[in-house]
């Protein structure tokens, strides 16, 4: 089969790019442990208010500089909706929904998850920069979706 010289060049280039991209993603996922923030922990969405840790949502100290932030998400609010976090804290955020699918995004950071009823989604984030952060719902969830926000304050 005759293949034009240029075709050989761009086929090699394309296949090479694919290999490089998949290697980077594969190493991140399997060697560096970058996993999606969901899918393993389940919860009964009707019993969120009585299931620990969501029966007492909020920031819980778990170790030196390690925290757990449990947030219950429901139309159209985050509970709690004003959180203070000490600067430099390594926070594992656990979220779950009581009704429909919501989003949980802190703009300007890597925190961005779906919040699905029946599942607990978790993500660990170190808050190194003091300041105020906004939590947004980024999945359309109903009439009050655009007002669904919460604030995080990172203090010294």
């Amino acid at each position: 089969m005759h293949i034009h010289k240029y075709e050989k060049i761009w086929l090699t280039f394309g296949i090479g790019c694919l290999i490089v991209f998949l290697t980077v993603v594969g190493v991140s996922a399997f060697a560096a442990g970058q996993q999606p923030p969901s899918c393993l922990t389940t919860i009964d969405p009707e019993k969120v208010d009585t299931t620990p840790p969501f029966d007492q949502p909020g920031l819980v100290k778990k170790g030196k500089n390690e925290y757990e932030l449990n947030i219950v998400v429901a139309a159209f609010s985050f509970t709690p909706n004003a959180i203070e976090i000490p600067k430099g804290a390594k926070v594992t955020i656990n979220v779950t929904s009581k009704d429909v699918i919501h989003g949980f995004e802190i703009p300007g950071t890597n925190v961005n998850m779906m919040v699905e009823p029946g599942y607990v989604n978790s993500l660990t984030m170190t808050f190194d920069k003091p300041g105020e952060y906004t939590i947004l719902c980024n999945e359309y969830c109903g009439a009050g979706h655009h007002m669904m926000t919460a604030r995080i304050k990172v203090v010294e």
Binding site: H4, Y6, E7, I9, W10, F13, G14, C17, N110
Partner: protein
């Protein structure tokens, strides 16, 4: 009479073959323009993610 005609047609075939090689310079340029754009976009997003870790 048959020989010159045969020679002539062979030359014509050779010429047609030469002409049929397509000019792919523009395609190559387009492929690489798009390719470099995709690489630039991918690398930018990846480093943004790493920076925010």
């Amino acid at each position: 009479m048959a020989k010159p005609e045969w020679t002539k047609s062979a030359t014509t075939i050779r010429q047609t073959k030469k002409e049929k090689e397509p000019a792919l310079g523009g395609t190559l340029a387009s492929v690489f323009l798009l390719g470099f754009f995709i690489i630039f976009a991918w690398v930018s997003v990846y480093f943004l993610f790493l920076h925010r870790l």
